[in-house]
């Protein structure tokens, strides 16, 4: 088999699984979980030759082209491509998704919609793999929307709970805002350059066919799509709520599929963004990285803490991309995928054992759940950026890129503060979670008593992911495979050394603070909160962004719809009623003939067609002589028309 076949197998195996599962899942033995897990491992195995090919030759490029619609000169292409970045993403996404599928077998055990869950999960993975492989804007948008759809289905999977149903809707609607931007951006590119293909778009931009403010605006429109999908400020509000979905789904969304899509897309279409666009992106990303970190400090729901940490890390990725750290940003995407999937699955393991998500009811779980503890520890160290864990390498590179950018453009000093401050916050909230959940005395003895380590089907994925969370940063393999598509400016020489020092310092300080506060008790979290009550309240309420949306967007919108309804009811209906009365008055004056015409005109629309049918039907007499008469008559009529 050639490589293209493997790629197609990797892409379509999950779709095949989803199709079979949605129709036949309930009738299959074990409700088809083995099938859905199986196809994911098939997909993963099929992605390995691709990775090997890319590994052997980093400049490797494979294109599978087809046309979808051709109409004269206009055509919409349907192409897949594999290069270094795709090769990595294909392998990583299918790998992580495979283990999340496996883990779900344990976590979702006994759910009434068990089979449907796996169908959705397969479909989600298929959408993401397609997005990764797309070689043009048209196709990437199709899969972009499919990712949005499947996330909606999975976040609202337990739709009996209003919170889950609302979270699904929220994710979908907020994402739509971004998607519209993305769509407008694609259309702008198409009208200017006349193509959807990445290659041709980049060529056109490099040739200067599109430049200046228009390109900046286009880039920002495209970026808006990523703001929605990758949950950047201010469209980040859906991600924490998405915790209402089953925990493995959260892991999938946070690690491999949904939020990765935006960052990946920005990396894929990198040449579309102008330096001006990147400045805007950098600030959006910096704000996301820092403020999400501050919110994470105050949350007590274990999944929400991790969710806000994801937001913050996504900010880092975008910050890296925007400040010239192309490789660093995407590298963080990959390392983050491993350790964040791990952390979510570990959190799921805790929730599975305790049946609570509240950190205040945990504590002292280290002895009870050793595998979960140690694997989550690995994840947290990677998240905090402690060497030699994977997160250290990627985050250090991002901070290095940001510092380099700030040194070259001192007016953007704020970005450096966001980056380094965010690193400190990361250490702090990550270990706050660890210490609260796993050390100290159990705060809820009842729950602690019943806690137990999860079954192997859940712990094996944890261990496997932990291995990667530890080691994914070693060896410089990523830099070898991923090359920036454009020439990037080199930052000042000192930036990286400084970044190394600062990021280590920040992470260490953060962890130390957490230790002092939650283990030693030198600092009382409660007292700090009391002291800075307004700040704490602001953070605890997530900067009131949701409330701002409610007051600034949702309520005015609802008011507008009510206004429209009132207008419709009062003015339009009034006008219609007035017209009716007027017409009736006039008809009464003009008498029954007019009345009849008005009536007839209304009914004509519906009845005339039917009446014609009935008349025409009469011609079909069943007498063959008549038929022949029609035939010859038809010939005669045509001849007469021609002669006349």
């Amino acid at each position: 088999m050639d490589l293209a076949t493997y790629v197609l197998i990797a892409l379509f195996a999950p779709l095949a699984g989803a199709t079979v599962q949605i129709f036949l899942g309930r009738r299959l033995p074990r409700h088809g979980d083995w099938l859905c897990v199986g196809v994911l491992f098939v997909s993963f195995v099929a992605s390995i030759p691709t990775f090997n090919a890319v590994w052997a030759n980093p400049a490797f490029k494979l294109q599978i082209l087809s046309e979808w619609l051709t109409l004269g000169s206009f055509g919409i292409p349907l192409g897949l491509q594999v290069d270094g970045l795709t090769g990595i993403m294909l392998t990583v996404v299918s790998f992580i998704a495979a283990f999340i599928h496996l883990y779900s077998v344990g976590y979702m055990h006994g759910d009434p919609r068990y089979s449907r869950y796996f169908a959705y999960l397969n479909f989600f993975t298929f959408s993401m793999l397609g997005l990764v492989l797309a070689d043009n804007f048209f196709l990437i948008y199709v899969f972009w929307e499919l990712v949005g759809l499947s996330s909606y289905l999975l976040i609202g999977f337990w739709f009996e709970r209003p919170a889950a149903a609302n979270a699904g809707k929220k994710a979908f609607i907020v994402n739509r805002v971004g998607d519209v931007g993305f769509f407008v951006g694609i259309l702008l590119l198409w009208t200017q350059l006349g193509t959807f293909r990445f290659e041709e778009v980049f060529k056109g931009i490099a040739a200067g066919q599109m430049a200046g403010p228009l390109l900046t605006v286009t880039g920002l429109c495209v970026f808006l799509g990523a703001v929605g999908k990758s949950a950047q400020f201010p469209l980040h509000v859906w991600l924490p709520d998405a915790m209402e979905g089953p925990t493995p789904v959260s892991a999938l969304i946070h690690a491999a599929t949904m939020v990765a899509a935006g960052v990946y897309m920005v990396g894929r279409v990198y040449p579309v963004f102008t330096p001006d666009a990147f400045v805007v992106i950098a600030y959006v990303a910096g704000i996301t990285a820092f403020f999400a970190g501050t919110i994470a400090l105050t949350q007590f729901d274990i999944k929400r803490v991790i969710a806000y940490s994801t937001l913050s890390q996504l900010g880092y990725m975008m910050l890296g991309l925007a400040t010239g750290g192309y490789v660093a940003g995407l590298f963080h995407l990959v390392t983050h995928a491993f350790f964040k999937a791990l952390m979510f699955l570990a959190a799921g393991s805790v929730i599975h054992a305790l049946h609570t998500q509240d950190l205040r009811e945990m504590g002292g779980l280290r002895a009870k759940m050793p595998v979960t503890f140690w694997t989550m520890m690995a994840g947290s160290l990677a998240l905090a950026g402690v060497p030699p864990f994977s997160g250290f390498f990627s985050k250090d590179a991002i901070i290095g890129a940001t510092l380099g950018f700030v040194m070259a453009h001192p007016q953007h000093l704020l970005l450096a503060l966001f980056a380094v401050g965010g690193a400190l916050l990361t250490g702090l909230y990550a270990f706050r979670l660890m210490f609260l959940a796993f050390t100290g005395a159990p705060r809820d003895r009842e729950k602690h008593h019943h806690a137990h380590e999860s079954p192997p089907v859940m712990t094996v994925p944890l261990v496997v992911l932990a291995v990667f969370a530890v080691g994914a940063g070693w060896g410089g393999w990523f830099e070898r495979l991923v090359r920036p598509p454009v020439e990037l400016p080199h930052g000042p020489a000192g930036a990286h050394t400084l970044a190394l020092a600062l990021s280590l310092l920040a992470a260490g300080l953060g962890i130390l603070l957490a230790y002092w506060t939650y283990v030693v008790g030198k600092i009382s979290a409660g007292r700090v909160a009391d002291r800075y009550r307004p700040v704490y309240t602001l953070l605890f309420n997530k900067y009131y962004v949701d409330e701002l949306y409610a007051a600034g967007v949702v309520r005015p919108f609802l008011a507008l719809t009510r206004g429209c309804a009132a207008f419709d009811l009062g003015v339009i209906d009034g006008f219609v009623n007035w017209c009716g009365r007027f017409t009736r008055g006039v008809s009464r004056v003009q008498g029954w003939i007019d009345f009849r015409i008005v009536d007839g005109a209304v009914n004509l629309v519906g009845n005339a067609i039917r009446a014609w049918g009935a008349v025409l039907r009469l011609v079909q007499t069943g007498v063959v002589q008549n038929y022949i008469l029609v035939l010859l008559g038809g010939v005669l009529v045509i001849l007469l028309l021609k002669v006349l």
Binding site: L71, I609, G613, L631
Partner: protein, 498 residues
């Protein structure tokens, strides 16, 4: 275009016809010799014959463009396209027949033999490059059709259908042959590919030529059931055994389109650049066909609205679809022809599918009346869902194959400029009308209350329905391979393009 005058050498390119003829005779013979399980054996042989025909047809690729048997037959990608098309649609009919009760047990051998014979006739028609050959092939298709339509001769409806069909067909063919004789008188040749030069040389009176063309058109119009040459269709479609009706609404209709295209584009048009033609000697046959197209779809749809029998309803729907397909014919460009061929493929899947559901339900339901379809979805879900998909595809609703087909037709019309915009408008309006009667069936199946009690549909039919359903959906989403094949198959006019 290479001409192969040697008959023996020509045989090498006529293998599909040879195989079909061989199996036709073989089934008749075997039916006489063997005494037990004759129907089953005939069916197996027919499948075998069709499979072998497909195989030898595929072996003719990559096809050049050749004239065989002293310019009687043409073998080119266009002809091969239709040969595959006919083999495919006949195969569906053969496969669905054993699980039905239409065909008397004692005459099953003949039935399958005739199915191969009609396929043979259609194959010849798609290749016919000479007026004489056209008449012979057309008659072969027609006569076999009469036999098949009257196959349940014990039933009055079937016998009546066959008789009407034969009388009507005789008049139509007679008219056509008369037109051809005029054409021969004007041009002095019977070969389609020699006609343009002959017309250009001769300086015949345009009116005489028009009359000849119009009379020939009667014969082709009768085969594709275009108004006003359509009147046989509803009676025959209703009276004939339903599998035969399904075949008649697809196979011979497509054969009619094949010969229509070859006749008009080879004999009555001259190339004007790549993928474009002009009518020869300024006979305005495109406008003539355009009017027929508009009238055909309108009449077909309007009468379909009031039908209560599903077979009859589908008969009128088939008439309307002939009108749609004709839209591509009038453009005199490659895009129009492309849209026609593509639509034919799509039409075969969805129309055979709709008929298949009617056939599959005729057994357990004992009815083909619309009123008996009420509440069908709750009695047997899969055929009802499939029927809904086929009907929506026939309407042209995305993302189903019918939408893509119609999209190409309308796009070709609109791209051709303002001259044909009116036809596109008529077509769109007709699609809307058609939705009314297609949706009526869906409404009956899903929304209306009917008798309870589960219906079981033969598993062979379920499999076949699925086999037609999958392409109907799939071709609405991804059709690039079919599009490429269709594009390749447009090479019937190579000699003209030169």
């Amino acid at each position: 275009m290479p001409v192969i005058t040697d008959n023996i050498a020509s045989l090498g390119y006529a293998t599909p016809e040879l195989v079909l003829a061989g199996f036709f005779l073989f089934i008749l013979l075997a039916d006489l010799v063997f005494t037990r399980n004759r129907g089953q054996m005939a069916c197996t042989l027919a499948i075998l014959g069709l499979a072998m025909t497909l195989l030898v047809t595929l072996r003719l690729y990559p096809a050049g463009e050749r004239l065989l048997f002293a310019k009687m037959m043409a073998i080119d990608p266009f002809a091969l396209f239709f040969k595959i098309f006919f083999v495919g649609s006949t195969a569906v009919i053969v496969l669905l027949s054993p699980a039905t009760a239409y065909i008397p047990r004692t005459r099953q051998g003949e039935y399958y033999a005739f199915l191969l014979a009609i396929t043979l006739g259609m194959s010849l028609l798609a290749s016919a490059a000479d007026l004489v050959m056209i008449v012979l092939a057309l008659e072969m298709v027609s006569v076999t059709s009469y036999l098949l339509a009257g196959f349940m001769k014990e039933q009055a409806a079937s016998a009546e259908a066959a008789l009407k069909y034969a009388i009507y067909g005789a008049v139509a063919t007679g008219t056509m042959v008369y037109g051809m004789s005029l054409l021969y008188g004007i041009t002095g040749t019977t070969n389609l590919y020699e006609m343009p030069q002959a017309i250009a040389r001769g300086g015949a009176a345009p009116l005489a030529l028009f009359v000849a063309v119009l009379l020939v058109l009667v014969g082709f119009g009768y085969k594709i059931a275009a108004v006003p040459f359509h009147m046989w269709a509803p009676d025959v479609y209703e009276g004939a055994p339903t599998p035969v009706t399904a075949l008649l609404s697809v196979g011979p209709k497509a054969a009619g389109f094949a010969v229509l295209i070859r006749f008009f584009y080879a004999a009555l048009a001259v190339p004007a650049g790549p993928g474009r033609w002009n009518p020869v000697a300024d006979i305005d046959w495109p406008l003539l066909v355009a009017v027929i197209s508009a009238v055909t779809m309108t009449v077909g749809n309007l009468i379909a609205i009031n039908q209560s029998n599903l077979k009859r309803l589908l008969a009128y729907s088939a008439i309307a679809h002939a009108g749609y397909i004709l839209m591509g014919f009038v453009l005199l460009n490659g895009q129009g022809l492309y849209a026609m061929l593509f639509y034919l493929i799509v039409y075969a899947f969805m129309n055979l599918g709709a008929f298949l559901v009617v056939i599959a339900l005729a057994g357990p339901l004992r009815s083909e009346e619309l009123k008996d379809y009420a509440g069908l979805a709750s009695r047997t879900a899969f055929p009802a869902v499939a029927m809904a998909v086929f009907l929506f595809s026939l309407t042209g609703i995305p993302p189903l194959a019918g939408f893509v087909g119609k999209f190409y037709l309308f796009a070709a019309l609109i791209e051709a400029g303002r001259a044909w915009l009116w036809l596109a408008v008529v077509g769109v309006l007709n699609s809307v009308i058609s939705l009314y009667y297609y949706a009526r069936i869906v409404k009956a199946m899903f929304l209306e209350k009917g008798p309870s009690g589960r219906l079981t549909v033969a598993s062979a039919h379920q499999v076949l329905i699925a086999a037609l359903l999958i392409p109907t959906v799939l071709l609405g989403i991804y059709w690039a391979p079919v599009a490429r094949f269709t594009d390749y198959s447009l090479r019937l006019l190579g000699p003209l393009a030169r």
